[in-house]
Amino acid sequence: VIDLAAGSVARVVQGDIIRDVEYVEYVAEKDGILEISRIVFPLAIVLTQDCDLEWDPRLRSEEAKNQDKLLLSALLAPIYTAAHVYAGEHLTDLGLRMATINEKRSPGEYLRNNERPRYHYLDLPAGIQIAPSVIDFKHYFSAHIKYLVELRKRNRVCTLSPLFREDVTQRFSNFLARVGLPEPSVAPRATESAK
């Protein structure tokens, strides 16, 4: 079970879990008609480092000498209900079908043990009325800081404690740092036993 931070501060915090975060998918204009498409994520977690988030509001005050460390946006990742992820149905309302993960067999166990780089399993305390969930690092997105500050005031669910939030962010950075290697162009060398 994930541990939560006690209390809260009046700014966006790394590890914040926020409800109904909007992501602007696209803005298009044709024949004088403006079309804006947004995806609303029912739950998302803030991944941006807390030291950056701590500096940002200080630099927005009039007393600040410069805005050198001002943030344009914060990184977040969506949180899906684990049962939906197992069934591959967490994005059906967007018209997308995901791969299934067998909950009862090894794939489900690997997911819950955080052995799959793409996902982070969240089992929040019983006091938080959210079923077991999964962070999907592949679907990370950004949101403007000012938008998040206002949204957080009414939509913050909870904040992970420092140790658990660092675990999430470190696993996210490891996910981004993966190196995709090409398939070998030559056949692998025969092993001694095969000779």
Binding site: I39, I79, E89, T92, D93, L94, A126, A131, P132
Partner: protein, 56 residues
């Protein structure tokens, strides 16, 4: 008058494998907090498309 022996307490038995009292075991066997039911499942992400006329 023969002295009565104190009641046997396994915690004071040197080398005993079972040094836990019934109370200790009961304390360890407290069931975990119940998981939230499926009704707490979060809604799925949804798309909202807004169209508006640009006023020149």
């Amino acid at each position: 008058v023969p002295k009565s022996e104190p009641p046997f307490d396994p915690r004071y038995l040197v080398g005993s494998q079972d040094t836990q009292t019934r109370e200790d075991k009961a304390a360890e066997e407290v069931p975990p907090a119940p998981r939230p039911p499926d009704s707490y499942a979060t809604a799925k992400p949804r798309r909202i498309v807004t169209r508006a006329q640009i006023v020149p």
